[in-house]
Every structure is written in C-alpha cells, then in structure tokens.
Amino acid sequence: MDERILVEQLKQGDESAFKTIVETWQNMVYNTALGIVQNAEDAEDIAQETFVQVYQSIGSFKGESKFSTWLYRITIAKALDHERRKKRKKRFGFVRSLFGEDSEVVVNPPDFNHPGVVLDKKEKAATLFKTIAELPENQRIAFTLHKVDGLSYQEVAEVMDTTVSSVESLMHRAKTNLKKKLEDYYKDRE
C-alpha cells in the first residue's frame, strides 16, 4: 500500500494501518538500531520505542521527507540517546563503586556478532564493529547507514539532513580512521 495513504490512515487513528506500518518497517528499524547500539536486546527496545513514538507523533509528520527517512531519523535519535544514557549509567556506577557502595558496575560487553554477517566473516566483522564503535558520532552513523543498512550516499544524506559531498567526506574520514585503528589493533595482537 502507498505509504502516504498509510500515514493518512494512521493520522485518523486506524490501528490496522499502524500494524501494516510496523510489519513493513520493523526489520529496517531494528537493523538500524542494532547497527548503532550493537546489542540485540537494546535494539529491540529502541525499535519498540521508535514505533511508539511514530504512533504518538504521527500528527507532526508533514510529509516533507519520505516516511522511511523520518523513521530512520527517529531510530537514530533514540539509539544515540540510549547510548548516552548507558554511558552515563556506566560512569555513575563506576563513581558509586569508588565510594564502596553496593552498585552493579557495568562491564564492557562481549564482541558483537551481527546475525546477518556471513559465517566465515564473523570474526573480522566483530573486530570491525568494535572499531566502528570508536568512531566519532557522525562518521559512525554515515558508515553504519551505508555499510550495514545498505543505503546509498544520497539516502544517507537525506537521513542525516546534509549534502552528498558531506557524506562522501564523512565516509572517507571514517574509512581512514578505521584503517588506522585496525592496523593498531592487529599490531597489538602480534
């Protein structure tokens, strides 16, 4: 069904339209969240929050961009917000542990294995995901959207509300940084 019709129906409170929207875009939203937060449970949580937000604020969607672009933006905002909260919690847990309070110190998570990676590339992909997590936010989002979600530079530019040349520049810097970090990583392991 045409996405504009679905959006109009959802604006009128049609629950079946909401169901169609969730079922059409759930994989896309979940996959994007998973690429950013690199944790299946957190990605599921973010995907749910994204659709709740869609239901509650569909009235503010004016149709100036594609519906999927709007969905990507909500997902990315939620994922980044989730990461910040997690980092804050980690810092707070560490400070509390310094004062001897009985608090759970958040340990570094194990290597992330994306379920969509081909089996013989799993180990290298886990290393790459670990390195991607160290990139600056903009480079990380551009790289993840292009490589994990398979968006073109044009689509990445629309989601990030920037120009294609900016995305090209972000991707170039991301690749240079990744190369350097990976080289250091492999050197340390020798």
Binding site: V22, M28, Y30, L34, H114, G116, V118, A125, K175, L182
Partner: protein
Amino acid sequence: MKMRPDMDKKVQETLESLDGIQRAEPQPFFYTRVIGRLQRNDKTVWETMSSFISRPVVVFAGLFVILLVNAFMVLRQDATTTNTGLTADQTEQLVTDNEYVLATNSSFDYENIDRP
C-alpha cells in the same frame, strides 16, 4: 608510512567483512510487544500530572518562584515598616516607666471587677 602487505590484506579484509550483510530481524510477535508497550505508556491524568510536577525544570522553577515571592514580601515589609523615631534616652525612659507601674492585674482583679 607504508603498511606491510600481510597487514594491509588483513585490514582490507576486515573492512570488507560487512559486504553482503543481511538485514537482522527482531524476534517474532514484534507488533504485539509494541502494542503492549503503547498500552503501558497510556497514563492517567494523575500520572501525567505527577510526572510533569516531578520534572527537574518544573521543580526548580517552582522553587525560584517561591524564593522570589519571599524576597518580594521581605523587601515590601522593610519599606512599609514605620520608624518609631525613639531615641536611646526615650527608650530607656519608657522601660523605666513600665517597671515602676504599680498597678498589677492579677486574676483576682479580673474576677472582682465590679466590686468597689
């Protein structure tokens, strides 16, 4: 500095490890869980009001208003308080006069107020 060929190969292979990646899917019955979450998010008027009042911005704004009203009242009172205009000598005289007033009213005086 040029990278060693074996290292370069390893790095390149790692960078290309996401080529051909498949989209990950959430667990089955995702829609049911979204609906469950939506229903949990449906708050009553009291819940909405209490969550609004407990917001740090609202709490601090409330405190600020209370302090402002207090400061305003204190300043206003200072401005309207009339000066008695008594000098130190006059005050001393007043205290001395009060100390030498012989009339003391006890409960006996009040109870027998009509008697001569």
